[in-house]
Symmetry: C2
Subunit: 148 residues, 2 copies
Amino acid sequence: MSPLPIGRLAKLTDVKVTTIRFYESIGLLPEPLRTHSDRRIYDEGDVRRLGFIKHARQLGFAVEAIRDLLELSDHPERVCDSANAIAQEQLAAVDAKIAQLGALREELVRMTAAGCSGPAASCRVIESLSDHGLCSADHKPLASQVSV
Amino acid sequence: MSPLPIGRLAKLTDVKVTTIRFYESIGLLPEPLRTHSDRRIYDEGDVRRLGFIKHARQLGFAVEAIRDLLELSDHPERVCDSANAIAQEQLAAVDAKIAQLGALREELVRMTAAGCSGPAASCRVIESLSDHGLCSADHKPLASQVSV
DNA sequence: CTTGATCCTCCACCGACTAGAGGATGCAGA
DNA sequence: TCTGCATCCTCTAGTCGGTGGAGGATCAAG
């Protein structure tokens, strides 16, 4: 197929040039062929592989998970139990995150509901932050896996 | 009140010692008094301030936003318009994130629904990732503000 | 007096990129 | 052919919100 310079690949896949080089550096993309002047050249296969990576990242899969998924994609004869397991885990992580954000949302709504126009001394937002006891207390984020 | 060493403050607030020092280094917590042997000593005021910070972080506020909120909390005579604005923005960001994750969830459910036991060649997960056309195509994360 | 917990500073690392410096090359128009 | 700009190269450092460890000092209890 037609050989693509990195900029063309970037436009075709809507992935930044620097990100493509980054994916190569961490081994998600193989080292491509180079021109006589050391420029990277890609082909249709690279477009597909990068598309796969992009799609997986959009779904929030971590790079290490994507590495495993690509391995399977590269070896279609293997059993795919692990692909399903990875996706299930990701689904669980997304569900957890949604639940967590739902709880956050609730408190933010409560905090902002009253509106506020006076001095900070009587501000519901500041007050809520000062006293955790005022809120439902079951939103406990900090340290989550999904960072989409 | 009783002077607390950093470890006590950490346990009282459930914030790690290293994180407390980090907050000091970025100016969220003031430099505390020190003992003759250079150990930090805190008081009840620090417990409250750190609680405020922790609560705000749990709600997903960025450090810069927390800095502004603490400013207001420190000066209760000022008008608190900005506190409300910050909280409203955070609420909007959380809403956006929830919507986005909802879309991700949909696709993950579709991908994993079939279950999978054969070779990767016929794996729905791998297949879905390879061909973005198979999915609804309106989940477009990458680059979000809320990272709770 | 010794032991183990706690404290100190400084520096490097995490994930997943992003941005910029400083320089080489490619390509199109005059 | 020359000029000039776009694109490419490598390398380094920064982002955010912390986390972890090395190497050493100090504290409190037995």
